[in-house]
Amino acid sequence: MITKRKKREGCFPPGYEYGEQERIGGIFLLAAGVLFSLRFFGRLYGMIQNLYIYVGQKRMLREDAEVAAFGRLIQGHWVPYIPFFLFLIVMAFYHYSYYYRGTKSIYLMRRLPAKGVLPASCVREPLFGMAAGAAVFGLLELLYYGIYLLAVPSGL
């Protein structure tokens, strides 16, 4: 039976200590998500505020009130994710350099009869990270689209 830990280890070069890398990747992804969220909520708040005027103490919808498209609110949304993706690319090269550190396990890897084992061991985790980042990204967009729909006054 392949345990979860074994499956995780299989994403990296053999014997690679991935704890720290996972932590740093997690921080990058979390930071990207937080920045994206702050930008979105900031723009959403600004948009909502611009829809209303105050007549005395009463808040009233402007006659010419226009709701910005969701796309405008999330414009440039991918920018906070760039450091995360760059980190993953650097990690792929760092995985390759692992085979030269301490010993020359590259000599063993280059003798393996099965095709692609060496490159796969270097890029599997970064590709998995990119997919995870894209999934987080997509889920957040979906969630915030729902929030956007709820926030927009009815009739607009």
Binding site: P13, P14, G15, Y16, E17, G102, T103, K104, S105, I106, Y107, L108, R110, R111, L112, P113, A114, K115, V117
Partner: protein, 249 residues
């Protein structure tokens, strides 16, 4: 048969370049135990790495008439003083790795050798001593199930008793079709172990002799090497005379 034909290797350096191998021709039959000797920089390591395809080269390396590719690379194994294992893994994890990738892995031999040399199986290799690491490196090369076992100075750092034990065990366990190509400086130790000696100097094969031929000529391997290298036994005496002779007078 492992055939090396006109093997040349040129390293580019900032100062021009170095011709590490200058047209090496060699035939290694299955079942041979060959000592590859030469001074530092003779080209021994370059030759072994070129055979394994780790370095680009000119010339040809054929295994039973075929170029060395993924389909036949597992017929070659390699033990190096640089160590090719994963330092964070245990021997048991290496055993699983080898079994996964090399269908010919010799499990019984692995058990026997690990027990004989009393190597801890569940200790990460980075925590082994240098001698233990060397032993493990050679064990895995022997247990891969390869026909041709290439070893590059595998015993650097091992004590003499350890090395002698290893030669004896190797001779005992090797099967008739297993071939060893051992690069070493330890001439006088391995002369009872090897069946043939190949001498390299400045990238060329300058000597190739079997132990049987040497025996017929009533020579030791050391005699042969000194002869081929043009070693002058009075060289040290003369140098010392030059250095101290005037003072004595």
């Amino acid at each position: 048969m492992l055939e090396i034909k006109s093997l040349k290797k040129y390293y580019r350096t900032p100062l021009g370049g170095v011709e590490a191998l200058r047209g090496v021709d060699l035939k290694i039959g299955q079942g041979e135990i060959i000592g590859l000797f030469g001074e530092n920089g003779a080209g021994k390591t370059t030759l072994l790495k070129s055979i394994l395809g780790f370095l680009p080269y000119e010339g040809e390396v054929l295994l039973d008439g075929e170029k060395i590719r993924r389909s036949n690379i597992s017929r070659l194994s390699f033990a190096t003083c640089e160590h090719s294992f994963f330092p964070n893994l245990t021997p048991e994890a290496h055993r699983e790795f080898y079994k996964m990738h090399f269908g010919t892995f010799r499990d019984k031999r692995y058990e026997a050798l690990m027990n004989f040399f009393e190597l801890p199986k569940r200790k990460a290799l980075k925590n082994y001593s240098t001698g233990q690491k060397n032993q493990f490196e050679v064990i895995m090369a022997l247990c891969q199930g390869a026909d041709y076992i290439l070893m590059d100075e595998p015993f650097v750092g091992n004590d003499i008793f350890n090395r002698e034990d290893f030669y004896k065990v190797l001779l005992g366990i090797l099967e008739p079709e297993e071939t060893i190509l051992l690069s070493t400086h330890l001439l006088e130790e391995v002369d009872k172990f090897v069946g043939r000696a190949v001498l390299l100097r400045q990238g060329r094969v300058i000597g190739d002799v079997t132990m049987v031929e040497l025996e017929e000529q009533n020579k030791t391997l050391m005699d042969y090497v000194k002869e081929v290298y043009g070693y002058r036994p009075d060289r040290v005496e003369r140098a010392l005379e030059e250095l101290t002779g005037g003072e004595d007078e």
